[in-house]
């Protein structure tokens, strides 16, 4: 983060991106195959299969915010342009992920609970996370100089880090309609191995897709800045 320039990171990721997208498509294909042929849950029937999109995107939306927050801290303390650019290119992906979580979650909720939306702690804190992502993107686009935008958005990302443990542990701290964690919990996963393997394959597929998407956004930002800089020099 300190010695790596945005340019080297961008070149490195673009050189790997064709393998990343290939791996991602293979994993997603395998997971779709597994999801179709998986036996239904004894209680929820087929509707529980939406979990294989809902849970990976939920993990990713939290992880992306954690990376964004850490990069913002590094960027602010060490004045690292690479860290700022990483945070800048992650927030649209995080927003899309959290919107997918909310949409799939409310479909699943309607099928099982009998309601699209309730104001319990988990759902509300997840909505707040989506709004922080939105605020981050808006802040990045509301300054003329990108250094100022990076500074303001980083402060928001660092403040938003407080929300992460609230989203994760809301189901343990308060009574909620949302069920508790099934995989990352004390006492091991509370699902059978075939479900767990499908969930992990699906997660890594979406994770690789996220990496691919991230490297493309990062590349575009770096190239745009190069063009702007050369224009300034020519003037």
């Amino acid at each position: 983060m300190f010695a790596i320039t945005p340019n080297t990171l961008s070149n490195f990721m673009i050189s790997l991106s064709r393998y990343v997208i290939l791996l991602s498509l293979v994993l997603i294909g395998v997971s779709i195959f597994l999801i179709i042929f998986l036996e239904n849950d004894y209680y929820q029937g087929i509707s529980f299969k939406i979990m294989f999109i809902h849970v990976p995107t939920a993990w990713l939306s939290l992880t992306i915010f954690l990376v964004m927050g850490v990069c913002s801290i590094i960027g602010l303390i060490f004045k690292s342009p690479t860290a700022f650019t990483v945070a800048r290119s992650l927030s649209p992906i995080g927003l899309i992920m959290s919107i997918i979580v909310l949409v799939t979650g409310s479909i699943w909720g309607n099928l099982t609970w009998g309601a699209y939306w309730v104001w319990d702690a988990r759902l509300t804190s997840m909505l707040i996370l989506a709004f922080i992502y939105l605020g981050h993107i808006l802040l990045l686009h509301s300054f003329e100089h990108f250094q100022k935008a990076d500074f303001a958005a980083s402060i928001l990302a660092i403040i938003g880090l407080v929300n992460l443990p609230i989203v994760k542990f809301s189901v343990d701290w308060w009574t909620t309609l949302h069920q508790e964690s099934s995989v990352l919990r004390i006492g091991g996963p509370s699902m059978t191995n075939d479900y767990l393997i499908t969930l992990l394959v699906s997660f890594f597929g979406i994770f690789m897709l996220t990496i691919f998407w991230f490297s493309n956004i990062f590349y575009i930002i770096v190239e745009k800045r190069k063009v702007e800089r050369s224009k300034l020099l020519n003037d």
Binding site: D41, Y42, T112, G114, W119, A121, V162, L177, S190, Y195
Partner: protein, 149 residues
């Protein structure tokens, strides 16, 4: 000389961020701690024993549907919501139940107490975090390890 100056600046920025983060998390902690009764989505039948003036107050009560208590009488669903301490609440509900409401499964009822009977306006099914196929349950039943209905 220059390195020392840079380190000082880094230290300063670090402390600045630490103060922001600590102040903000402390304020969030205090808010959520003082609002913890409002953030909780439902109360259990045991909590109702210690609450005053629950008559005619809009509440959410959660627990399990007691085994052999779910009945359909005169156009109303009648059942008992029970918790781990075996305290229960009698519930009447006049609309359609969600698909997943079953005996010995989680439920949340929303409504008021009228003459010691909970008249529910909204009923939500609460499923737990366990997922398994029917074949796994059959296997557990054969081994005699299955605890459920």
């Amino acid at each position: 000389m220059r390195i020392i100056k840079l380190n000082n600046q880094i230290k300063k920025r670090f402390i600045f961020l630490l103060i922001i983060f600590v102040c903000f998390s402390a304020s969030i902690f205090l808010i959520s701690y003082s609002l913890k009764d409002q953030i909780a989505y439902f109360v259990e039948p045991t909590d109702l024993k210690n609450m005053d003036g629950i008559e005619n107050k809009y509440l959410r009560v959660g627990g399990l549907v007691k085994t052999n208590s779910l009945k359909f009488l005169d156009g109303n669903w009648i059942f008992e919501v029970i918790d781990q301490n075996q305290n229960s609440v009698n519930v009447v509900f006049s609309k359609t139940l969600p698909n997943l409401v079953e005996e010995n499964k989680g439920i949340i009822v929303e409504g008021k107490f009228i003459d010691n009977i909970f008249v529910a306006e909204i009923v939500l099914a609460k499923h737990d975090e366990n997922y398994m196929p029917q074949s796994a349950i059959d296997k557990l039943k054969e081994e005699g390890k299955w605890r459920g209905n």
